[in-house]
């Protein structure tokens, strides 16, 4: 992970068939680094699958799977001058597809305007949560994976646009601030089993378009304590054929106001996050509280988690509690459930329950720092969903709690 510019440049020069003189004269410094996780997870149910994030179309069940947490990323930064650089990150993981696939979550040009101020143009990780930027870097986190009750609230996680980064030190306080603007396009699978209009089909493609993403966040660090506040908003659109057809049917049945209210096209999306971390010699604590409001049929929700660990030499046992609570109405009685309208009335209620859900999880884990850039983690989660909660491919007869056991090996290089 650490830079050794001379060596990298020399290697690059050799690869290009250039001599060492040409290398120092013509080629910019290139840093190559990376991170990864090799993981296996298993649950105790066959009636639903557990996912790491909303974008993941395939989850894990009682047969166990390596696809939930395993990933490999390589990052390269080219230093064009003291002030200008370009960075790209390529990641292989199971995110938008059912198998492992390559995606590029980070790709930007950076200019250091002043010592304290930099601007980046390109794609960055959407910086909404405290650990958004490094949530995929298992080695930099105590947990095996971010709690889905909180980190799974937003169905898109990159921003294409620009951001400004400000860092300064005032006496004992280190300050970091960021503001960004941009847009996001993502394709996910909605796998809620009884999704209205799909006739019970297992999944359908959902296209997410976030426009006019705008946000700001500020972190203050003093000694072992960091506090962070963040706020962001977007104009949010979620498109799928079956949902559009169903909303058209509601309109045709004589409920245009309801059809408009359920339609998730250019609806306001607002997100507020307060977080803190305490990283002492032995004690490590981390927590966040988030509030999300969103329009259309997509539910609004609150989420919180708290993690506490105690480091003893190379071992960090930890415990975490996380929960999500839907704050918007989960039933709608606009369409009277009588006669021929019953299927439509039921469909509306299935639609508004098709994403998000109340759920809480209690986790116990152990992180073992095997080596200076490698750790091994074992984590057991007891996941308690209300109804389907945040599980996908839910079959009849599913109920919680569900136990999930995970083993991961994280590394950076």
């Amino acid at each position: 992970m650490y830079r050794s510019p001379a060596k990298t440049t020399a290697t690059l020069a050799l690869a290009l068939g250039l001599g060492p003189v040409a290398a120092s004269a013509a080629l910019p410094d290139v840093d190559v680094s990376g991170f990864g996780t090799a993981g296996f997870a298993i649950t105790d149910t066959s009636k639903a699958t557990f996912v790491r994030s909303q974008e993941q179309p395939v989850g894990v069940d009682e047969s166990g799977d390596v696809g939930l947490d395993s990933l490999l990323a390589v990052q390269a930064t080219v230093h064009l001058s003291d002030r200008f650089s370009a960075t790209g990150q390529a990641m292989v993981r199971r995110l938008f597809t059912s198998g492992f696939a390559l995606d590029v979550p980070v790709f930007f040009a950076k200019a250091d305007l002043m010592h304290d101020l930099a601007v980046r143009v390109g794609r960055i990780q959407l910086p909404v949560f405290m650990s958004s930027d490094y949530r995929q870097v298992g080695y930099s986190n105590t947990w095996v994976r971010p709690p889905i009750e909180v980190y799974g609230m937003i169905p898109f996680d990159t921003n294409d646009g620009a951001d400004l980064l400000y860092r300064t030190t005032l006496g004992p306080i280190d300050i970091s601030a960021q503001t960004f603007y941009g847009r996001t396009d993502a394709t996910t699978q909605n796998t809620a089993q009884n999704l209205a209009g799909t006739g019970g089909a297992a999944s359908q493609t959902v296209t997410i378009q976030a426009r006019r993403n705008w946000g700001v966040n500020v972190s203050l660090t003093m000694g072992p304590l960091t506090v962070r506040a963040g706020r962001n908003q977007s104009s949010f659109t979620s498109i799928s054929d079956s949902t559009n057809q169903f909303i058209a049917a509601i309109n045709a049945a004589g409920f245009p106001a309801l059809a408009t209210r359920l339609n998730p096209t250019n609806v306001p999306f607002e997100f507020t996050d307060f977080g803190f971390s305490f990283d002492g010699t032995h004690v490590t604590l981390q927590g966040e509280m988030v509030k999300e409001t969103i329009g259309g049929f997509v539910p609004s929700a609150d989420g919180e988690y708290l993690l506490a660990g105690y480091r003893i030499r190379k071992f960090t046992p930890y415990a975490m509690f996380a929960r999500q609570k839907v704050t918007s109405a989960r039933t709608d009685t606009t369409i009277p459930a009588v006669g021929a309208l019953i299927p439509l009335a039921q469909g509306v209620n299935q639609l508004i329950n098709s994403v998000g859900g109340d759920q809480h999880t209690t986790s116990l884990g152990l992180r073992w720092d095997l080596h200076e850039s490698m750790d091994l983690k074992l984590q057991v989660d007891r996941v308690s969903p209300q109804g389907n909660g945040l599980f996908i491919y839910v079959k009849p007869g599913f109920h919680g709690p569900v136990d999930v056991a995970s083993l991961t090996l994280d590394f950076v290089f």
Partner: protein, 137 residues
């Protein structure tokens, strides 16, 4: 036999002396042109953890004993923790990891040329081009 003992005692003495020198002699340096005043050990620790951007840190290679002693005594964290902290910054693309050098002489050369840099070396490498702002006890 007696002679061997003497050699061994001598070797041990030299080894101890050598280790003591290495341990006692780590200094934190900035360019002679830098207007940085004395930094507290707390500030230096924050700079080398990537928390503070008062100055830009440069490192010795990971295998270096000087580096190990510096992180243990000044940053007061084990290197695994330091790597985890820097990984957070590096993989966001917000901050670059410190440049690494093979020897104290190279650190002195780099620091002398750029008044925003801060490094640590064995005191024997210090020359007129750099100034010592902290001596590791």
């Amino acid at each position: 036999m007696k002679r061997l003992n003497k050699i061994m005692i001598g070797a041990c003495f030299l080894l101890t002396l050598g280790l003591n020198q290495a341990r006692a002699g780590i200094v934190v340096i900035v360019s002679a042109q830098s207007n940085a005043r004395n930094l507290s050990v707390e500030q230096i620790s924050r700079i080398f953890q990537g928390k503070s951007n008062l100055m830009t840190p440069v490192d010795l290679y990971r295998s270096s004993r000087i580096r190990h002693d510096f992180y243990t005594k000044v940053v007061a964290l084990d290197e695994a923790k330091v790597i985890a902290e820097w990984s957070r910054l590096v993989f966001t693309g917000k901050v670059q990891a410190p440049k690494q050098f093979a020897s104290g002489a190279e650190v002195v050369e780099a620091v002398a040329a750029d008044p925003t840099l801060i490094g640590y070396v064995d005191s024997s490498f210090v020359n007129m081009t750099v100034k010592v702002i902290y001596t590791v006890k």
